[in-house]
């Protein structure tokens, strides 16, 4: 009967769909080939090509790149000046991730546990709306907000806290002459910009937490604080880890915020930008690109060892 039906409709598309139905592996292959090609050739290929260029030689005198292989660029990463850049970026990435997690958790918890329907939609939009605006515009806006005589300073003055602000700004490693040229200001802008990337994964992990687990915990005699530390927090660690991978790697690679806000001094991202754009030292830029990759690999290994993914 089916054969008869096929003969009546010798439609090419239908025959194709029949073949694909009978050969699910072929179907899968067809579906996966374009993304695999993209990921493999375009993405991984260009990344490996870039890293390969880190072994090329840059001639300081002629400013020319020659394909003579050398380890000099990678060795140069350990110069005191370059190490300083790496440690400064790493410190900022850790601080930004920690602060984002602390700020994001209550918001994510409220979204996951206490909102539904329209309120939940409102929170999603509120969290993601900042991402709809151009990142550079937002960063420039922050330079104005934090500048001398800007909104932030006015606000601090209204609260009569100028003394405190001056005190904070005088702390070495944190402060600077004004908020917009301080490490603190840079840190605030980073936290602002990456916060949604922390909120959403934590929210997703809390959303998956069955309410009966919280009931069971209370039923077994755990006070709310114990339920939080013993059940909620451990089960949301994969979400925090996922969010921190975003905030950590985005901070490691960023080159705009460090240029516009905060004291002078390169970050890894701005160093890559300077080496590649201004100086034309592609091999050194490529060597610097390796740093965030290695740091994130170490970070992932650490997080995994701490058991962050056990509850997945």
């Amino acid at each position: 009967m089916n054969l008869a039906l096929d003969k009546q409709h010798p439609h090419a598309l239908r025959r194709l769909s029949d073949v694909l139905y009978r050969r699910p592996n072929l179907y899968l292959l067809l579906l996966l080939t374009p993304p695999l090609l993209w990921f493999g050739a375009v993405y991984l290929g260009s990344l490996l090509n870039l890293l390969w260029q880190g072994f090329y030689t840059f001639d300081d005198f002629t400013m020319a790149v020659t394909p003579d292989l050398t380890l000099a660029n990678f060795a140069a990463l350990f110069n005191p000046a370059n190490l300083d850049i790496i440690l400064r970026t790493l410190g900022m990435a850790v601080a930004v991730s920690l602060a984002s997690a602390v700020l994001a958790f209550p918001i994510a918890y409220y979204m996951a546990r206490y909102t539904s329907g329209k309120t939940k939609a409102f929170f999603y939009i509120a969290v993601m709306m900042p991402m709809w605006a151009s990142y550079i515009v937002k960063t420039y806006a922050w330079t104005l907000l934090l500048a001398k005589g800007g909104v932030a300073q006015w606000f601090v003055q209204q609260l009569h806290l100028d003394g405190l602000l001056q005190l904070v700004l005088s702390v070495p490693g944190v402060g600077g002459s004004t908020l917009s040229t301080s490490h603190l200001g840079r840190f605030m802008v980073f936290v602002y910009i990456w916060l949604p990337f922390m909120i959403l994964p934590i929210q997703a992990s809390l959303e998956r937490l069955p309410p009966s687990l919280l009931h069971a915990s209370a039923d077994l005699g755990a006070k709310p604080r114990q339920t939080f530390t013993q059940v909620i927090l451990p089960l949301s660690v994969p979400g925090i880890a996922a969010g921190s991978i975003f905030t950590f790697s985005l901070t490691l690679g960023d080159f705009i915020v460090p240029q516009l806000i905060g004291p002078p001094g390169y970050f890894i991202g701005s160093m890559v930008y300077a080496q590649q754009g201004a100086i034309g030292n592609m091999p050194m830029a490529a060597a610097f690109t390796l740093v965030p990759i290695v740091l994130i690999a170490i970070y992932l290994a650490l997080v995994k060892r701490l058991g962050a993914f056990d509850a997945l």
């Binding site: 069955p210 687990l213 209370a218 039923d219 077994l220 755990a222 006070k223 013993q230």
Partner: protein
């Protein structure tokens, strides 16, 4: 001795819906008490009220004589076995069982010893290091049971704990739960929609319908002397006869119930002193230990009749569908019922 749990005129309203409506129950200490009813009948809400996950809108709940209103779940001497077991996925079995002791500050060595003891009680020795995800449904259920019992509660609440198990395992667990309850002597409050389960395990059963209690009685009385039309139809199979037919057969329009196994199937001509009525044999289902017949009465109502196949010889099939037959039953086998009326707005 104060009652284990006492509900006095308890109501719980969600928005407009009365999930629990003016319920009063007295549950004795050491009793195996079941709350039976269809889904949405308020039985689970009652359990949650005892556990403390819900607060009553009105009325009073006393647990061992102490008013429970406003007491959070973690301060109640009551533990729950959840329907989905609610085992903590990030802890191994032993830590799951020891959790209640840990949060109460019992030292590591002692709580591990007691957890292992509780695991032995549910026949899961040696499973302490496994994660809940590595266990079967029946094993998870036992872990949930051990986790609740390790705290030595005076009242154990069980929220349809056997619902997710297959039939064989369920029957086995029914026996084990009953044994455990007798052995420990603590009050079990068991919520189920399965009437066989409720009848076979409980000392007493409360039948819920639309947030109200229809009847609280021993399993035997519930089956033999149902109080309302709802109980008669929900607990076991029953024929409920009403109106003109009831008047014709019983001399009163009050609805009454008659169990299928109390009815005899007979030839049309047969005469007896029993209540009798004729009808058309509509369907015959052979069920092994019994044969089930459906007889359509002249007013259209179908009457279920069950005849035990308690003779070892094979009898020839004497009844044919489409045949007119007579059914009869002893007058005493009829139970007068109160018609279950749905309250306005439900």
């Amino acid at each position: 001795m104060p009652l284990a749990v006492q509900f006095t005129q308890v109501s719980r309203t969600f928005a407009e819906v009365k999930a629990v409506d003016q319920v009063s129950i007295d549950i004795e200490d050491g009793e195996f008490f079941s709350m039976l009813g269809p889904s949405g009948s308020g039985k689970t809400t009652c359990l949650r009220l005892i556990a403390g996950f819900e607060q009553p809108s009105s009325g009073s709940i006393r647990i061992h004589g102490i008013e429970a209103a406003g007491v959070p779940p973690y301060q109640r001497d009551v533990n729950t076995v959840f329907q989905d077991y609610a085992l903590f996925p990030h802890m191994n079995v032993r830590d799951n069982v020891a959790y209640g002791l840990k949060v109460k500050g019992v030292g590591k060595q002692q709580r591990h010893a007691r957890a292992d003891e509780a695991l032995a009680m549910v026949a899961l020795e040696g499973y302490g290091q496994r994660k809940p995800a590595q266990l079967s449904g029946g094993q998870r259920q036992r872990v949930a049971l051990a986790r609740a019992l390790v705290n030595r509660p005076r009242v154990l609440l069980l929220d349809e704990p056997l619902g997710a198990l297959d039939l064989k395992l369920r029957e086995q667990m029914q026996g084990e739960l009953k044994k455990l309850q007798r052995q420990l002597g603590i009050t079990f409050i068991f919520v189920t929609h399965d009437q066989t389960e409720a009848l076979s395990m409980s000392d007493r059963v409360a039948v819920f319908n639309h947030g109200r209690i229809e009847q609280v009685d021993s399993p035997r009385n519930l089956y033999m002397k149902p109080a309302t039309t709802f109980v008669a139809e929900f607990v076991g199979t029953s024929n409920v006869l009403r109106g003109a037919l009831a008047e014709q057969l019983n001399g009163s329009p009050t609805p009454f119930s008659i169990r299928p196994e109390h009815i005899r199937l007979d030839e049309l001509s047969a005469a007896s002193h029993e209540v009798q009525v004729s009808g058309l044999l509509h369907d015959i289902q052979y069920q092994g230990s019994a044969t089930r017949y459906e007889v359509q009465l002249d007013n259209g109502q179908l009457l279920a009749v069950s005849q035990a196949n308690d003779q070892w010889q094979q009898h020839p099939q004497i009844w044919q569908t489409g045949q007119r037959v007579q059914v009869r039953w002893p007058r005493e086998a009829m139970t007068a019922l109160k018609e279950t009326v749905l309250v306005e707005g439900q």
